[in-house]
């Protein structure tokens, strides 16, 4: 105790670390252990949530009316922001590509650059980022508020399974709707890019699509939609998981929503990074 007391009183060393090397190692191991336990907790709870959703879906117990309501809310009501984002992505890609190709590279290659960039990357990822803010954050805040105000407990006390009634419809709706949004974003982005190319570097529609066809693979579209399915599954699943973990009143809801947005963004970018080695080689 005395030694501990002395350690507590000792001013921080120049390096900013305190304690003996052995104590530092123990501290580091403790931090690793706590981090590992935290990750294991998340993984276990996410696994349990996913299992509950799969079971409810296979048993046909998911309320279809709720799936439709969520699909409308996630899909139709997200359309304006998804379209605007895709349009801007197409405009920027086309402008920057046009700027770089004013040299030896044939200008029609711009068509391929715009289409590939939008379909393979920007369409799905920008749509996912928009949905993280619009759909994911709202789901976490909604579930978090329900958790801290005991509405989730109330639901359970009434014999309703929150995973079946609340979680499963949102994940199913995400899987169904996000690929469609990605398809729309791809189309809008490509046409916005084409119009921009025409307006900025004078690349006509036929030349643009000639360039686009040169390096086009039909698989690219499936790849883009597959990303939509993966993101449409991951965003609501993580948002729900973080909502269910919420504790501690209004502040807890705020913290859970912030963590959820970070977690969803990292997951989308991680999934985006593992897609090429899995599906493009």
């Amino acid at each position: 105790m005395e030694a501990d007391g002395k350690l507590m009183q000792r001013p921080p060393a120049a390096s900013g670390r305190t304690g003996s090397p052995g104590r530092r190692v123990l501290g580091a191991l403790d931090a690793v252990g706590r981090g590992g336990r935290h990750v294991a907790q998340h993984a276990g709870q996410l696994g349990g949530l996913l299992w509950g959703i799969i079971i409810a879906t296979l048993r046909g117990q998911v309320p279809l009316r709720e799936v439709a309501a969520q699909a409308y809310w996630m899909g139709v009501l997200s359309l304006p922001i998804v379209i605007i984002t895709a349009m801007l992505a197409g405009v920027v890609t086309s402008q920057q590509g046009g700027y770089q190709f004013t040299g030896g590279v044939p200008l029609y290659v711009l068509g391929s650059v715009v289409v590939s960039s939008i379909v393979l990357e920007l369409g799905p990822v920008m749509t996912a980022i928009v949905l993280i803010g619009r759909v994911g954050a709202r789901i976490t805040a909604e579930f978090g508020t329900m958790k801290v105000s005991e509405q989730i407990d109330a639901m359970q006390s009434l014999g309703r399974d929150p995973v079946r009634v609340l979680a499963a419809p949102r994940v199913i709706a995400g899987i169904l709707v996000v690929p469609i949004l990605v398809g729309i974003a791809d189309t809008v982005g490509v046409f916005a890019g084409m119009l921009t190319a025409s307006a900025t570097v004078g690349l006509g529609r036929e030349a643009f699509f000639y360039g686009a066809r040169l390096f086009w693979h039909d698989w690219d579209l499936l790849y883009s939609l597959a990303k939509g399915v993966a993101f449409g599954f991951a965003i609501p699943l993580i948002a729900i998981h973080m909502g269910f973990r919420t504790a501690g009143g209004a502040e807890g809801v705020g913290k859970a929503t912030t963590s959820s947005v970070m977690f969803m963004t990292l997951t989308v970018l991680f999934l985006d990074a593992i897609f090429p080695p899995l599906l493009l080689n």
Partner: protein, 252 residues
Amino acid sequence: MVEYQGLYKTFDQPVLAGVDFAVERGETLAVVGPSGTGKSVLLKSTIGLITPDRGDVRINGESVFFSDARTLRRIRRKVGYVFQNAALFDSMTVFDNVSQGLPERELRKLRRGDLAVRVAEALEHVNLDPAQVMAKLPAELSGGMRKRVGLARAIVGRPEILLYDEPVTGLDPMNGAVIHRLISRLADEMGITSIVVTHEIEGALSIADRVAMLERGQIRFLGTPIEFEQSTQPLVRAFLDRDAALGVLEQV
């Protein structure tokens, strides 16, 4: 009948430390005790909303923690739960909130008219005018009305047991008295077994057949309201008598 058998639960520190008692059919039991002594945890454990580290709860002989999901759902249908802040579903009207108290199968089978009759009956039971409140959202109701809607939701499925978590907390004395009268009336008219967790000792003594005092995760007193009032235990006296409470606080 509700039986608590050796319940233990620890969060950061022990909250329940071996709780053993039973509540008889048709009885109203008030659970009192200082804040943070595990009263709400005990109540939530009753229907498995919180899983204890050890022990079990048996409702009419059926285990809450050693039953499959289907049995647990069936057990929960026998029990109505009135939450501290009512826990009404924000996005639903009073009508929809109360109708959620019915089992899903029954809710699907009932015609809209029959459902409206059931919901109206439950609202009238708690002294609310169905025509006035049915279409309202929870945010449009006062605290007392929300509690009564929560109570209506708990009784619409005609439960055998009602659990009340701080039913009068946050209410003015008049609304508190209304809720206490409702608890007594529901117990008498419907023969419901009631477990009431509360801080409000006067009201608890007026409605309870027995009083249990929970302190540091254990039942320290279990007896009738008269026995409770006549008890010489310092903790009980502290609860009943402000001067004694100050004495206990000073000792702490």
